[in-house]
Every structure is written in C-alpha cells, then in structure tokens.
Symmetry: C2
Subunit: 328 residues, 2 copies
DNA sequence: TTGTAAGCGTTATCAG
DNA sequence: CTGATAACGCTTACAA
C-alpha cells in the first residue's frame, strides 16, 4: 500500500503533474503557485504518506543530504559528544548523519573520504586522526562537498576548534599559582595540531613565569600512554606535577601515581584537558580545561549548512578540580 | 578530472560495454567472464579512480548500502560503544553507518524511522527509547529493510541483547552474599524491557533467598534520577544497599551518599549495571555487571548483513568492584 | 502558474 | 560471455 508510492501517484491523486508536486516540495520560492493546487498537493502527499526517495533525489541533484563526521573513535566521549552536536543540527535541517569512524587508522580514514565522494555528501566534519589526508580532502572539496575541519587545524581548510593555546596557558598559570614548580608535560602526538597548540600554551605560560618544564614527553592521547609515561616519571621522582594534553592521559597518570603510592595532589599534582563529561565523577575531581565538544559539533554543522565555512575559535574554561592543590 | 568519471568512461577505456563493467564490479558469480576482459576493466577502474555513485546504484537496486543505528543518545558511552560495533562490521562489508539519535524523543525516533524508509536503508539496528514505534517499525520491515532490535526486547522482532535477567540475578546474589539485607532497588523506566528484565532478575534472587527489597523505585536511566531517588533513601535511612538498574543511576547514588556523608561500602553498598567503560577509573571502583555493548553492536550488524536475524542473548559478567564489601 | 520531456548513473533483462 | 536497452524516481529547462 505504502512503501512504493512515487511522485506520480501523488500527482495523479492531486490532479497535477509530477513537476508541480516537486515544486511544492522544494518550495522554489521564486515560483509562485495557486494556493489551491498547493493545498491539493499537500493533501495528496499525506493521504498517501509520500516521502521522496533519497537516492532518486540525490542522483538528480548530484548531491545528497548527508552530513558526515569523520572521527578517530566514536566511543571516545569527547568525539561522541561532538558527533551529537553535528547530528542535532543536521536533523534540524533535514539532513542525515553518517558516522565515519577512522579507528585511528589513516587507511580507514582515506577509505571513508572516498566513500563520501561516492555518497556525494553535502558536507563533511573532518577530525583527522593525525596527519590529514590532503589529496583525499581536496578531491572531496573539488567534488563540491562542503568541508570543515573540527578540533584540529589543517592549513588551507576552515576549522572549528577550541582555544587550545589560551586554555592551556591558563591551566599552566593555575598550576604554577598552586606552587608546583617541577612540572612535567605529557603531550599528545606531535602530528596532531591540538596537541601542538596545547603544548605551545603550556610553554608560553612557563616562559612568562621564567620557569621551564622538567620534561616534555610525546605519546598517543590514551590512558595507557599516560600511565606508561607517568610510571617513568614517578621512578625518577624529580617532578611535583604532571600536566597532560588530555583527560585520558591524565587518568593514566592518576593510576600510575596510585600504583606508585604517591598522593595526589599533595605529592604530585595532576591536570588534564577536555573536561570529558564523566570526569566530574572522579574522586579526586580532575583539574582540567573544558573544551565545548558539543558546541564544536554544532558550530561545524551549522557552518556546513549555512554554506559559510570559516575559522572559529571557541572559548575554553578552567575547571579547578582537586588534583592540584592551591597553596599547598 | 576525477569526480565525474562514470561507468561509461571506464567501459570506453576498457573497450567493453557498461554492463560488463557493472558485472565485474558486482561479481555476478554465476556469470563467468574472460579473465582478460576482467583485468582490462579493473585496470581502467583504477586508472580512472572510478567509484560507482551510491545514489544511482541505490535507485536502480531499490536498496541502499546504509546501515542505521537508532539509539537514544550517542553521547552515552554505552550506546556509542554499541554504535562502534555496528560501524566496524558495516565498514568491513562495504556499508555506511547512519546515526539516528532519537534524543529520548519518541517523535524524533518516529521521524528517523521514516527517513530510513526514504533512505531505503539496507538494515536497521533499533534501540527504542521506550515504547517502540510499532507502526513505523513494521512499515520499515515491509519495505524490505532488515531489522534487528538491540539491547531491548520488542515482541515480534528479533533482538540481540545481553542476559539481563541472569546478570541481575547474579549481582543480587553477590550483594546478598556480602551481607547486605535491607536492599533498595532503583529500577529504570517501566517502559524499557531492559529495565524490567533487570528488575526481574533482582527479584528472583531475593525471592530465592527468602528476602525482599526494602523498596523499588522507577526513574529514568540517568545520574540525576539516581541522585534524587538516593537522597530520599538516605533520609529514610532504612537501607544498607542501593542496587541500580544501570551505572548512571549508580553514579548518582554514589554522589547522593557522599553528600549525605554516608560511607560506601561500609555504610551503604552500591551496585550498578553495564560496566560503562570509564567506570573502571572511579574510586571506589563500581561493583557492576558487564554488558558487552560493542559485541551487541557487532552481532546485530553481523546478523543484518548475513540476512539471518534471530534472537541472541549475550552473556554478562559480574564485576566485583569496591562499592560492595564482601564479609564486612 | 503549470505541464512536457529529458536525463542523472546504475543495473537487470534479454538477445546475440 | 558480452552488448544494447530500458527502467529506477526525481528535478529542471523549456514550452505553453
């Protein structure tokens, strides 16, 4: 009964031509039409529960209504929140959201970029795993897909991200103000702009205070990396604070210090970055910097759909938790 | 140069007809073809970097290669992990994954079900927010979409879920074995099968032990609900353990007890359900039941793609954390 | 303001 | 084993 109703049956029922039905649906606001016909068309549409077939529409228009989010790991709370921001805006504008989980694999990421080409995606929110796939990206852009990089910086493409430098600087200043001096920094991967920006902000603050980091170590944005690197630090015992490039690494650091029987924040202070939603439930509460993941997703999707993609820098906010003790 | 290469150009370059190219791509394993032509076609395909257009293919085939996941909240770690399971299997089979975030709204969920009709989705992994949208579901099924319910039970549809009853029973037995006797149960929404099953398992265990719950309260699967309900319990001070229907509620309970200055696990024991990934990082570690979210997603997607949808019940596992003290 | 008709890129049917 | 041809359902010039 339903399921195979096309624009022709709607047209027939309304006593008009298919093109008229199409015009009603796509509200070509230039063209005006008799209110009577328009009403008849609408009546027929919901009498038959008609929904235009996406594939036919996309084929004709040479463009789908799919918004894609390419990200390293959808099960990472930060990215899933960002994805939710994208989805919510997309849905509001009648678009579908495709998830492209690159799984931290450049290959899978590349593969997805090609799929999006075939999909004729309307827009893509792209969070590169590490070094972005430039050729894939520009191929996509040339094909007419709108493109915005999120949470990362890629030269030549508009990017929506948080104020990593400023946030990191503020955090470092706070850590210094707590009295910590022998600070180690666990940076993320050198290939990720976000990591570089956070390191930069950290360095700026220390420089300004005439201090310098005891050590800076790079590693992936994971708990495990945070743990391993911190274990080494705990052994050498020369640090009084560990500042990390994201909350995951901070978590690893906390576990490492726990295993080494070093009290936090009195023995060693710890700070993270991102304010991953559930970290609020940790005890002691993690000192970190809030990055508005949801909002990044919303802004990115909004730009895509308004056809006005441009760089945007969203403010971050220091979260004074309990892993750095002021005036200890 | 690329971006507008169609099957015709590939055919031209390979010196064959479009149909032959199509046959090569869709490997009609009934039809055999000269290895020579097949090789020429492949050569042309990657010389031109040809990728068939999804919309054209879907229009012709009357079926897309999209796998959709309809879920209440993608930013909930449990669901995002499940979604990742779906995506990983889908990707492996050349399918795209669409995220349909119902945002706990029946309306949005219904809307998405219609969109999936228009999208001619190949398959749908459906996690209803509460009462499932039966008409929408059967319309979708009648349209030819493969359908599997995940993490919930909906009569008349195959469902992939965890052994909630058994897991909950085991958990309750464990809590009893710890010596807790005045146990309150914070159940999820009455409309959600998962919540009902967990409550059932809990009841079975208590019955078998000749005990009975001090109280059973229903509420949404949220931290806030867990907090509010626990605050009331803390006031009445008649309970020595709070068992909740999921980890979120357990988290709320922990905060409420903290605010009421009641020590966990000595004053009151707490237990959750799901083993949401990051709960490992809580201190004290949450006593809970592991539900294999990733695997549920993988199995559901696997069934969809193998065209063999059937009920599946995945095993759960008790996680002895630190919020219930054995032999206290 | 509305209708006619062509064609988007693929695949399935049917001949050869 | 391969090629011509006709759709799939929709939108958009172009006519009327």
């Amino acid at each position: 009964m339903d399921g195979k109703v096309t624009i022709r049956e709607v047209a027939a029922l309304a006593g008009v031509s298919p093109s008229t039905v199409s015009r009603v649906l796509n509200g070509n606001h230039r063209q005006h039409m008799t209110p009577t016909t328009r009403d008849r068309v609408y009546a027929a549409i919901d009498a038959l529960r008609y929904t235009p077939l996406s594939s036919a529409r996309s084929l004709r228009r040479q463009r789908s209504h799919v918004l894609a989010v390419v990200l390293p790991d959808i099960s990472n709370p930060f990215f899933s929140l960002l994805a939710r921001g994208v989805e919510s805006v997309a849905f509001g504008q009648g678009c579908s959201t495709m998830i492209c989980n690159s799984d931290h694999s450049l290959d899978k990421e590349r593969h997805y970029l090609e799929i999006l080409l075939a999909e004729q995606a309307l827009g893509v929110v792209y969070i590169p795993t590490s070094t972005p796939d430039e050729p894939g990206l520009s191929r996509l852009a040339r094909s007419g897909a709108r493109l915005v990089v999120a949470d990362r910086f890629v030269p030549g493409f508009p990017s929506v991200r948080a104020d990593n430098v400023g946030g990191s600087r503020a955090l470092a200043e706070y850590v210094l103000s707590c009295g910590y001096r022998r600070i180690a920094y666990l940076a993320g991967p050198e290939t990720v702009s976000t990591a570089r920006e956070r390191l930069q902000g950290f360095r700026e603050a220390l420089d300004a205070a005439g201090a310098c980091p005891v050590t800076v170590k790079h590693g992936p944005f994971t708990c495990e990396a945070g743990y391993e690197l911190s274990i080494e630090l705990a052994r050498s015992a020369r640090v009084d604070a560990i500042v990390t490039a994201n909350d995951m690494m901070a978590l690893g650091a906390l576990r490492a210090l726990e295993d080494a029987n070093i009290p936090v924040p009195n023995g060693v202070g710890v700070a993270g970055f991102d304010h991953t939603p559930w970290t609020t439930y940790l005890r002691p509460q993690l000192t970190t910097v809030e990055v508005p993941a949801l909002q990044i997703g919303e802004v990115a999707a909004g730009q895509l759909l308004s056809e006005a993609t441009e760089d945007a820098c969203l403010p971050t906010r220091l979260i004074e938790g309990e892993t750095c003790l002021r005036c200890r």
